[in-house]
Symmetry: C2
Subunit: 465 residues, 2 copies
């Protein structure tokens, strides 16, 4: 690990000369929120929070940090789940939340240029009001777009539309040596040298600081419809998923739900889910430009489900029912969090046919370790979210059981040729598992790439590897 320096008084004065007094926070001025994310239970505080507003401010700060060897961690909204934005080495926390402008809607290119601090929900609202569609749909709508890019955030529409990576046309960034970088652009195809844009996407703030993004938009589909199908087992549900995807049907979302998670969410929201007596469910949605098209997609999927053992196939076609069901699905993580005092999560991705077996294995650990385990996930793309709940046990037992369960889960994912993270990233919470699943050769290459971008290792140190 690199040796860093504490921020000097001279540097602080320099930062204040760039940003003004009010955008340089130190000591008591720093809220504990800046020291954690959504799953960090003990904050780790930075020495200074610098609230930047322009690329030029960032460039000057980075040059100083690189010259003085200050660790520098970039933070959007801190909604991550693996500590990616937690300043674990102290130093500078670069708060991007004031860089939240929507810059330019380019209707001829179907793109939207934004600053990285703009919230996903604000992008969505802005483009949908104008008849456009930004498909990536991670559960956390108050995340920043910069954070979504840093983790290559996925979400529920990945089955039909892909993930954040697929909607980034171009990025502007500042490298850790203070170089401005433009990758991609307002263009569709590109085979011009190495895929630096793709390398920055998902690099969790360790390679460069994103200062602007050009997002790809689609025309907003005119119609949508959802379906909820209860099953007597997850196995049966997942067999249906394979048949649906092979049939030529194009679900937008294809989620699996387990009964206990639905019950937790009913408790959390104080609202009933349309059905909650079956052990497993599939929740699907379809979109398109004509009602006939989505009705036909629904009918075909319903027929497949019913012929393969679904107990029913509920149509969800009113705005009210849609929001009941999808708001509940969106609240799963919050509901699980609210049901216990502390938790750890596993965001593995496995080949789709292994989902049911992986979940069965996860539940077998409930009994083995006598610990509650909850799960839900993206049946259409093999990305599972499994949570171990502390439920008030003492610290030592919790740490030991938590670690054992995580190790067993990642070992199983390794056996299934899966990867550590489908959409949340590695951060510092999951880095010990990366060499097992990605392979030590790959991790060595990543370290080498990191050194090319960041020879002094100042940017988000201690993350990913």
């Amino acid at each position: 690990m690199p040796e860093f320096n504490q921020i000097s008084e001279a540097s602080l004065a320099y930062f204040k000369s760039i940003l003004g007094e009010e955008r340089v926070l130190v000591g008591e001025q720093i809220s504990p929120d800046f020291g954690r994310d959504e799953l960090t239970f003990k904050p780790v505080m930075p020495e200074a929070v610098l609230q930047v507003e322009t690329e030029e401010e960032i460039r000057k700060i980075v040059l100083e940090a690189n010259a003085q060897l200050y660790p520098l961690t970039v933070r959007g909204q801190g909604t991550g789940l693996v500590g990616g934005a937690v300043p674990i080495r102290g130093g500078i926390l670069l708060d991007m939340s004031k860089m939240d402008s929507i810059l330019f809607l380019d209707e001829d290119n179907l793109t939207l240029s934004v600053e990285p601090g703009v919230l996903l929900q604000d992008v969505t609202a802005y483009v949908e009001a104008r008849g456009y569609f930004y498909p990536p749909d991670p559960g956390e709508k108050t995340a920043s777009i910069g954070g979504n890019i840093a983790t290559n955030a996925g979400g529920m529409r990945a089955v039909k539309y892909g993930v954040t990576r697929d909607y980034i046309r171009g990025l502007r960034a500042i490298t850790p040596t203070g170089q401005p970088l433009q990758v991609g652009g307002n263009i569709v195809k590109n085979s011009s040298g190495y895929a630096l844009k793709d390398l920055l996407i998902g690099s969790e703030g360790t390679l460069a600081i994103i200062t602007q993004a050009t997002l790809r938009l689609l025309p907003l589909p005119k119609e949508s419809i959802s379906m909820l199908a209860p099953f007597s087992s997850l196995n049966q549900a997942m067999d249906c998923v394979a048949t649906i995807l092979k049939s030529g049907s194009q679900p937008v979302a294809l989620e699996f739900l387990e009964r206990q998670t639905i019950l937790d969410t009913e408790n959390f929201l104080g609202k009933k889910f349309p059905h909650s007596t079956s052990p497993a469910y599939l929740l699907l949605s379809f979109d398109g430009n004509s009602k006939e098209h989505v009705d036909q997609e629904f009918a075909q999927a319903a027929e497949i489900c019913l012929s393969q053992g679904a107990l029913d196939a509920f149509i969800i076609d009113t705005e009210e029912r849609k929001s009941t069901v999808w708001d509940a699905r969106g609240a799963f993580l919050e509901a699980i969090k609210a049901s216990t005092d502390e938790l750890d999560e596993c965001d593995v991705v496995v080949p789709r046919p292994q989902i049911a077996e992986f979940m069965a294995f996860a539940h077998s650990l409930e009994e083995k370790y006598q610990m509650p385990i909850r799960g839900f996930g993206h049946a259409g793309d093999g990305n599972l979210h499994v949570y171990v709940l502390r439920d008030g046990i003492d610290e030592k037992t919790w740490q030991s059981k938590r670690k054992n369960i995580m190790e067993e889960l990642y070992q199983k994912a390794f056996e299934f040729k899966g990867q550590v993270s489908g959409e949340h990233g590695i951060g510092f919470e999951k880095k010990e598992y990366l060499p097992l699943l990605a392979g030590p050769e790959a991790v060595e290459l990543m370290r080498g790439i990191k050194a090319v971008f960041d020879p002094n290792g100042i940017l988000n140190p201690g993350k990913i590897f």
Copy 2:
């Protein structure tokens, strides 16, 4: 540039011990084809062609080449257009054409695992016979899949379906230091460290040798329809493209054609195109699972075209008419090549709204330099192919005019914030233009990444930068 050694007799004997005599070609045994690609007019010969059949053979050869400092260039079918597979530093040419097995169709994951030497047309035929669809559709169907991955080949279906990058789930590779590498896998989402898979895709054989690829498949759409619309100017045609894409319509392909290219192709094929008296055309296709759906897409696009000045909108719905039109479109490059003695090409990508202006600029150079220029391209994604024809002029004038025209074209693409290559790559023919359009900072980072993978610079030296 690294200092390389000539292949020693001892190394040749070692290669023969690995491959057997018959798969080690030297001297007169090497066909001039191994020294060129589709647009190289003077072959540059390797010292030895090694025809590999397994990953283990590759690993041993690479270890020897890295230890002895032999340049090593990987070749699929040599169908590239920028010299990417030409062994410009001599040394070893690794001929991948014998690694052409289709390994495993995984119908549950909708993936196909293949060796890199399998031809695109063989992948297409294999999966379509089984009801599946591999969407990437580069013009050159006899290219190898490995070559497609090396250049991130695009093609005509990119508007709806994306490019090769979007259909690669996982890769196996051997790095230039002989390390085996597995990136991605039989999985859909992945946010587990840096995007090494994306970095290998499009790296033109400079970072690692691909030994296996897992391709993503879709169910084969059941219906398709095409449309040909003549316009009195390319400007008018391109205005329609913007309206069509904003309308929510989802064309699979959206090509523009110019009259002269159609005439060249009629001559080349000895076959009439359905219409050839207008200066500009749009050629569109739509697909889907129902006839109503594709008919509706056609009707909507036809209405837009006719209301915005198209002279007609021909439906192309029989298999015979489809193949007439698309075979002609697929033969454009061959037809242009056949019409002259030598040519140079420019594969820029520009923002879509700048296509008409770029083509007008390209044609203005015909007059300025008194040289014939032909063009066609992907109207839906801003990727243009512009060709300068030698037509028998002397070598000195040709080299001077060719260079001036290319410089002017890339300068214009730079002004439009485009990139050097949309789908053919940089190879060695286009590397002088990369710093201008990608930026010198980006090229420096690429050089750094190259050194991480290939400290001795043995793999495909002299390419990209």
